[in-house]
Symmetry: C2
Subunit: 259 residues, 2 copies
């Protein structure tokens, strides 16, 4: 299986503290050593970094821990391969363009029989269940609208498609078009929103504490979503099984149950 990390904020924000906790689980405090990837949106643009090496020992992951790339939307993933060999093309997050926006997708789980789902417009480049599911979801979304629909309508369709995929096994999802972070919980997904008054937080996986009151402005609002809580001294919310949560401008905006 794998671990997911997402961030959505109302101002460009440094994700290095959370990323440091995640990458430890890629070969040091956790077994997710089959590659990792991260996508940072900058307005409509998106920077991605992928490496099939374990994140705990990856030179690019070390570089990103030393250099701040501020972003309002981040999707990251560390991989423990089940279907699909360890290779760059099987490393999440996957990306495709739809309606002039770059969509990114990261998945934790296993989907039995997904490759029987027909694909039309988007084709997978690698051999993972996950990328096939992404192509299928985007095909379905694309076929419903010619251009970006109102956000709640889109969230409802993503919830419905996610619920259908969940029937094939386990489908914990982070997906974004740069404006909204869609998070579907099949078995494990936790989140926290940090806002004023900011306190300090301590990583579970590494002996690191950050005092957010020194790093932020009073109006900053930042939500972090992860497979398991990343800090030991904060109260993380746990998504319900079958729940889709959508974050925008740093806040939980929609919560859609599908059970």
């Amino acid at each position: 299986m794998c671990e997911l990390l997402g961030m959505n904020a109302n101002v460009p924000t440094d994700i290095r503290f959370s990323f440091k906790g995640l990458v430890c689980r890629g070969g040091k405090t956790g077994p997710h050593a089959d590659g990792w990837g991260i996508a940072f949106y900058d307005e409509k643009g998106c920077r991605t970094f992928h490496d099939p090496k374990p994140s705990a020992h990856s030179e690019i992951a070390l570089f990103l821990q030393d250099h701040s790339i501020k972003s309002r939307m981040v999707v990251s993933h560390i991989r423990r391969a089940n279907r699909g060999r360890v290779a760059l093309e099987n490393t999440h997050p996957f990306s495709r363009e739809l309606w002039g926006r770059q969509w990114t997708f990261a998945h934790n789980g296993l989907l039995r029989g997904i490759k029987k789902f027909p694909l039309k417009f988007y084709q997978p480049i690698g051999t993972t269940d996950s990328e096939w599911a992404f192509c299928w979801m985007l095909d379905q979304i694309r076929s419903k609208w010619k251009d970006t629909p109102p956000p709640l309508q889109l969230a409802r369709v993503i919830a419905k498609l996610s619920a259908r995929l969940r029937k094939l096994g386990i489908f914990n999802l982070l997906m974004s078009d740069g404006r909204c972070l869609y998070c579907f919980c099949s078995t494990d997904l936790a989140w926290i929103t940090r806002k004023a008054p900011f306190g300090s937080a301590t990583l579970i996986d590494e002996d690191v504490t950050v005092d957010f009151s020194k790093e932020t402005e009073p109006r900053d609002v930042v939500s972090i979503v992860a497979t398991r809580p990343l800090t030991s001294n904060e109260n993380w919310n746990v998504l319900k099984h079958g729940e889709l949560a959508a974050f925008k401008n740093g806040k939980l905006t929609y919560s859609i149950p599908t059970d």
Copy 2:
């Protein structure tokens, strides 16, 4: 305008020597200071790095000069903005998936009236002429075949589409699906193939010399394509105006005149 750099090789090869020459032209020995990007294929996977900062001063560009990423296919670009503001989404190379392959595209030039060309499947994310032209080309290619056609047929269509775009202004192109490097010369594009017996080469833009005989095996074949020659002591070939050159396994495979 901009500068292009492409590499195609029969074995995974380190491009840092040529990349070092290129990035100098992004704000140091040349004026192309409005961002840069590079795509490294690894089999079907593709790693990309983009930065809207000048390449000569970019931390990611410095990282890539210190860390070897070997690849058989590389497409790189340094930008001097004409149409489209300096922004991550306007930074080449652009990428889209077609037939389960990641295609990358980098352009040097200016295309008057390109935004009147209708688009169907692919939409631009940024506002450059170049990305619009890429979307239009892929639309045209996609509409002709359901799956990857024989290479010569594909090269002929890319040549024909390039010749049509060239009529709008200047269209120097590097494009790849990871298997073949397509290079169209509208005004400026030079190339060199290095193979045994390897010699040494000296950069024009930086006081650096490499003895390739120490870095290579006898069977290695590597072609480099660039807007202007990058070395001072080698004989670069200059593509004819209107010529499409396609490189595969390190060698020039097709040369198609369109004039």
